[in-house]
Amino acid sequence: MMVHSLPILLMEIGFMAMLLVVALAVLRMRSLFAIVMLQGVYSLLCAAWFVSLDAVDVAFTEAAVGAGVSTVLMLGAMLLTDRDANPLPTKRKLGPLFVVIIMGIAMFYALGDMPAFGDAHSAVNTGVGAQYVQSTREEMFLPNVVTAVLASYRGYDTFGETVVIFMAGLGVVLLLGLNGNAGKWRAKPNGQSVAAPSQPPVKMAAAAKPVKTAAAKRKPVRRKSAKPKAGGTS
């Protein structure tokens, strides 16, 4: 039973292959700039596939949020932190690989119980979802069913979601400061300015006791200039 006609099926196979390639590339790469850009590409490919799956609202949001704002925020954070990831020792890879393979096998075992792709009579598609379409048609007089459900039938959940976005903005402003100066203020009790320590305490501890940390053993990526290492000695 074919869900789609052949051209759409080929397009879906193309999407799946590209998503797989991008995910594997993120896995293997060490340059953070490339990784951040690839996750933007991943979001955009998913948005394109969502359109093919009739989820136009979701595709719109995923393209705007995932491929747009999320990439800008990651680039901003990356500019403030590091450019490359360290190479991973093989010991660190074995445990996660084992866990992931076991989980994958378990999920493939459960694959048979899921409803077939595109089934109109599955439990998912014959429950509340169909009722919402019917109710919107009869009593809401609004063409976009997703907006009607989001803003009216499930309006309480959308209220919670709005508060979550507000809390995210609030949290980032508390952590970094709206003008970028959180954590860098100087106090002035009774008119005497208290000098903030010139370096955070952990850095001073490491500087006081120069031990051969993993930072010193790091293999640098091929680049022209040397990067300043951890330890605050710069």
């Binding site: 949020v65 704002v69 901003g76 609004l142 976009n144 959308t158 903005g169 970028g180």
Partner: protein, 147 residues
């Protein structure tokens, strides 16, 4: 000649159109794909584009941080305020029918949905802007890092 001249000229033409498109998406969310979240992100990205091309200080003059601080909370207030308004009119929390009880084609629902979507637009726009301002204004520790 300024090396960013082309970017600046094109952005000056595009940014008002992007903001206008954001408002289009907001108000046509009832009739096609769209709604508060998508529109909020689009309007925020018009200001982010301005900041990327002309500098963060110019963007902070256009949309000051005090607006951002107020706007984040204003959106949540509008959404909750719609619910409180339905309470005051005698219905349950967020039951929009009480806005126009005698309408035959659910005008009350339409008013309620419009109001909450404006609340969502406000919060999403200014929250995304707040996060961007926070990241963009932070001075990086790394000096002398080249690409």
């Amino acid at each position: 000649m300024n090396q960013h001249l082309l970017l600046q000229v094109v952005s000056k033409m595009m940014i008002p159109l992007i903001a206008l498109f954001g408002f289009y998406v907001q108000f046509h969310g009832d009739f096609g794909p769209g709604g508060g979240f998508q529109a909020g992100v689009i309007v925020a990205s018009s200001v982010i584009l301005y900041a990327l091309v002309f500098g963060i200080e110019a963007a902070k003059k256009a949309v000051p941080p005090s607006w951002v601080r107020i706007g984040m909370t204003l959106g949540v207030l509008i959404y909750g305020g719609t619910g409180v308004a339905t309470w005051l009119l005698g219905g349950e929390f967020l039951n929009y029918t009480v806005f126009a009880p005698q309408s035959t084609h659910a005008a009350g629902q339409h008013w309620g949905i419009l109001s909450v979507e404006i609340g969502v637009l406000c919060t999403v726009t200014f929250a995304m802007l707040a996060i961007f301002y926070a990241f963009a204004s932070r001075m990086p520790d790394l000096s002398g890092e080249d690409w």
